[in-house]
Amino acid sequence: MEDALLIDWSRAQFALTAMYHWLFVPLTLGLSFIIAIMETIYVKTGNVVWKEITKFWMTLFAINFAIGLATGIIMEFEFGTNWSNYSWIVGDIFGAPLAIEGIMAFFMESTFFAVMFFGWDKVSKKMHLLSTWLVAIGSNLSALWILVANGWMQHPVGMEFNVDTVRFEMANFWDVLFNPNAYSKFLHTIGSGYVMGSLFVVGISAWYLLKGKDVVKAKKSIVVGATFGLITSIFLIVSGDESAHEVALHQPTKLAAMEGLYDGHGRAGIVAIGQLNSEKQIGDKSEEFVWSLEVPYALSFLGFHDMEAFVPGINDLVYGNEAEGIESAKRKIEKGKVAIEALKSYKEAKKSNDEARAQTALATFRANEQYFGYGYLNDEKEIIPPVALTFYSFHIMVGLGSWFLILFFLILYLAMVNKLDGKKMLLRLALFSIPLGYIAGETGWIVAEVGRQPWAIQDMLPVGMATSNVSVMAVQTTFWLFAIIFTGLLIAEIKIILTQIKNGMEAH
């Protein structure tokens, strides 16, 4: 019971810090490129209005960056304290990408940020523009290294488990870097940041138009924001498709939860919208949905690029499906327990210098290694993540993403034909879509992270085995401390940004 409580609080704390961190990051990723585009227009045209526009958005970028700075470091603290088993086991895989990220971020921030903010009129226009682009590229590359690490947890490749050091060690750096799960996740995640940045620019510009303030600059901003938003929304859909394909291949339980699919079948459709049957249990025969609207064949096609493809459901994955060659979770758990026993036997044999026994145990371990994590599960149903949370988060994310595409298209079209002025309802919708962008981003993370439960490392290490033996009270205390600090930071950001917006675009 104590263990379960510790795991839940450690999970809650990590979720809290990760989700707060993710409130700041997407705007940095997206706004940095939008600023670079605006400054490029200034350098190309020589029109000082574009310089003023760039400076305004750069100020808002700086506020968001400064408030969000180092919020991610908290997760590293948590790794060392609450997740020490996990940290030790993945140390070698995580060490390299995170070290590269840290060094790169330091040099980028201390050099090019300084030129970007202090260098107006002190360096040449081209040098300043280069710095702005490098800040944008550097910020996005920082995200690459983090997502390479995250992608590895979702689909561990390019590593070997060393039984003596009890660590995953990198066997091939390029396999880790070019892990399809990592780059599809990276592209989809930065894509969501670009859309967030666009929503921010379009929404705030819409507010200026509604107020009749800084109209010329707001209109110019809105064209850049909506164009960037429209292009990146399409990019987001394409990268989302690739990301879902990776999930279908390597995380079938997540896909089944995302779609509320209990009984797998070929020619599977996607539920566009629906209400899950809350009484539904794994293995029973009740209906999956109270009501639903389905797009036929779409899940088979998007998941496996084949309309006939069989998509396994939760029941297939838990109880197995011989006809489709799906092993039951019970069988995997048995093999996992064999792997754990073999590791234990290896340890004892090494201690007593019995090399022959150690080699036999090692061979048994290697034969069952891919099921290692399953050995820690007590019940076959534990392989299924929380279905309702994953399903609704996924559908909220997709629904909002579709709305943003429509919004950017309408705004851009009306801006281009110069008919945006009277469209108060649309401008209000654009303004209220800013928080929707954050909701879409957070629900995306819920799908990615809740959807992969119970695993810290897919199939290899369940979350329950990743924690340290620390007291529940300590984790609870720091949970509330973080909740207070991060909420304070969020309030500070909103307050400072609102003040700057109210001051108008002229004041920068």
């Binding site: 400064a66 088993n85 030790w88 720091t478």
Partner: protein, 84 residues
């Protein structure tokens, strides 16, 4: 052979220093932001990290062999943790 232009080096350093100094001096909203960053870093690195987030393995074990043995022990004997 690489020639070092020694007389220019201190001048360049001075210019870089002045660039940063003037930049910081002329900040407006930036001053508030640096204040927030300073408070945040103090809270994170001096309060949270030191008081609440000791590195469990570094604090409790002297070397990597001991740490590896502890993790191995966790993985092979402490199997009662609930995963969900």
């Amino acid at each position: 052979m690489v020639k070092l232009n020694k007389p220019n080096f201190p001048i360049k350093l001075k210019k870089i220093f002045q660039f940063y100094l003037e930049g910081f001096k002329n900040m407006r909203v930036g001053k508030t932001l640096w204040g927030i960053i300073a408070i945040k870093f103090f809270l994170f690195f001096f309060i949270m990290k030191i008081l609440f987030f000791p590195n469990f393995l570094k604090e409790n074990f002297d070397n990597d062999t001991q740490r590896a043995n502890h993790i191995l022990n966790e993985l092979t004997t402490n199997l009662t943790k609930e995963s969900k």
